[in-house]
């Protein structure tokens, strides 16, 4: 019967299961000192994401998130939150315009990495999606995470300026 458990559901990789079930870094911060918020939503899927970021001396010192979304969305938010603490908010990176979440060992590089340009891109969704084995039909929801994150990062930069 274990074969029918969600842990063996091919839609959910082990990392997605672990991150969704533990949701490290989830929830609004307990204090409001120095935190900025960025929020985005998708009316089609009713996905809502709110990021809380805090920085000191140009580096992200706290990243928390609130998500109404599917297990993949929550897992990706948890992955991003864990990966960005300690990063400079305006560090040079291989993605034009902003820092990139470092890839986990063995994770494939995203398509076009290093060649993108435009507004600050804070999250390399393709790399994270590949790392967590997020199904293709879920990728659209991940943009909500990115949009919210970008808004928070822009606020952080504005606060710093």
């Amino acid at each position: 019967l274990k074969a029918f458990a969600v842990r063996d559901d091919p839609r959910y990789s082990e990392q997605v299961q672990r991150l969704f079930e533990t949701a490290p870094g989830a929830g609004a911060p307990g204090d409001d000192a120095g935190w900025v918020q960025g929020e985005a939503s998708d009316p089609l899927t009713e996905t809502r994401v709110r990021w809380h970021l805090r920085a000191r001396d140009g580096r992200i010192t706290g990243a928390r998130y609130e998500v109404r979304g599917c297990p993949h969305t929550i897992a990706v938010a948890a992955r991003i939150a864990a990966g960005f603490v300690g990063h400079p908010i305006e560090a040079p990176s291989d993605v034009a315009g902003g820092p990139t979440l470092p890839r986990a060992a063995g994770a494939p590089a995203s398509a076009g990495q290093g060649a993108r340009s435009g507004p600050p891109v804070a999250v390399d969704l393709a790399a994270i999606a590949a790392e967590l084995n997020v199904p293709a039909e879920k990728l659209g929801r991940l943009f909500v995470i990115e949009d919210a994150f970008r808004r928070a990062v822009l606020l952080l930069r504005g606060t710093r300026a």
């Binding site: 019967l1 458990a5 929020e39 609130e66 998500v67 109404r68 599917c70 039909e137």
Partner: protein, 384 residues
């Protein structure tokens, strides 16, 4: 016996009752015989088939056991009813009336008719899921030959006023088909009181085996049905193919047991209400479907502030159905709940709990505890 799942998905299918299993096993172990054969072995097997036919006919108040036509399930019965009756009356008219919340077995058959040149009126129920008899009348046209309305909705448990709709159809000489797959053994089901000409029935919804069902076809007057299957002329030419004797014996026994269930509908309603009372403490929950006119075994609830797929994940060892797109064959949230006016978000975040003969109060309490815990966790993760 420890159970690996908390099973509250009895509107999808039910556990085979041990008495049904015994009847089927006895049948499978018996001497072979084709019920269509005229020799003694065939007659012996045919007696089993006819006994089962009587058992099914008895539960639904059919005027004669010969009104029962065996099928492979309610889907085939619905298909035969809708396609067969429409095609059988094609010379009189090519208009069918049904509702947006019918089972796919009816809706897809109607879609097929549309591709063949019929026109179909799909009635939208009110926000409680009920189709007003007046709305049916308003949709009728001179060329309407068939009305198909289900008795108990498989997602919400809403009970339609089929008796009133049937009477209105009977007065106008229009064939009335009722999908009663969810109704048998749960709500009063008497084909005469429903003024039904055709009624689709299922075995596995009431603790019988999957793979067998029946279509009640009124005897006098008998609606003209064009068969969908050809071969041996069995079942009065309406459903060719050797009857699966052990299957129909199982269905007969399941229907016999349902007829002897006494206070079972009240017990199921008690479990349903107990679960609803526990879930309602969460706040931000919505009962889907009419609060009064509904079957005792089904409870459909939408939860505000949570994602349907995440909720299903959290309830992995609880067997319930969901309106979430991820659990739907079409990839869309429940069309039934959307027809009731629920937003996509609430349709997605809905669960259908369905009790059966082997469900207990402990099941209701434990499922309530799991759902409350899961909803609270997901709401805590979500932006306020």
């Amino acid at each position: 016996v420890a159970r690996p799942f908390l099973y509250l998905d009895n509107a999808a299918t039910t556990a085979v009752d041990p008495r049904v299993l015994a009847a089927m096993t006895d049948c499978l172990a018996a001497e072979p015989g084709n019920p269509s054969a005229t020799h003694a072995a065939g007659r012996a097997v045919r007696a089993r088939v006819e006994r089962a036919r009587e058992q099914v006919a008895s539960l639904i108040g059919a005027e004669d056991p010969s009104a029962i036509v065996w099928t492979s399930g309610a889907t085939e019965a619905d298909n035969l009813a809708v396609l067969g009756a429409a095609r059988g009356a094609a010379e009189r008219g090519r208009h069918v009336v049904t509702s947006k919340t019918e089972h796919r077995a009816v809706l897809d058959a109607c879609a097929r008719l549309e591709r063949e040149g019929w026109s179909v009126s799909y009635l939208r129920p009110d926000s409680s899921g009920r189709v007003a008899p007046d709305a049916v009348v308003a949709a009728l046209r001179p060329d309407t030959t068939l009305v198909a309305i289900m008795l108990v909705n498989n997602e919400t448990g809403v009970v339609q006023d089929c008796a009133a709709i049937g009477r209105l159809c009977r007065e106008r000489g229009i064939v009335f088909h009722v999908d009663a797959a969810q109704a048998a053994g749960r709500v009063p089901l008497h084909v005469g009181e429903l003024h039904a000409d055709l009624v689709a029935l299922s075995a596995h919804k009431i603790h019988g085996p999957a793979g067998v069902g029946a279509l009640y076809v009124r005897r006098y007057p008998r609606p003209t049905l064009v068969p969908l299957q050809f071969g041996g002329g069995q079942e009065g030419g309406l459903r060719s193919g050797t009857v699966a004797v052990h299957q129909v014996v199982g269905m007969g026994e399941a229907f016999r047991l349902a007829g002897e269930s006494g206070q079972e509908p009240q017990r199921l309603a008690g479990l349903r209400d107990r679960l609803w009372a526990a879930l309602a403490t969460l706040g931000g929950v919505h009962l889907n479907g009419h609060a009064g006119h509904r079957a005792p075994h089904v409870l459909n609830v939408s939860f505000e502030g949570v994602d349907g797929e995440a909720l299903l994940y959290e309830l992995d060892d609880v067997a319930v159905a969901s309106g979430a797109a991820c659990s739907s064959a079409t990839g869309e949230p429940s069309y039934v709940l959307r027809a009731l006016g629920r937003s996509d978000a609430l349709a997605q975040a809905s669960l259908r709990f369905a009790f059966g003969r082997f469900s207990t109060g402990d099941d209701a309490d434990e499922v309530a505890r799991r759902v409350v815990t899961a909803v609270r966790r997901l709401r805590a993760l979500a932006p306020s």
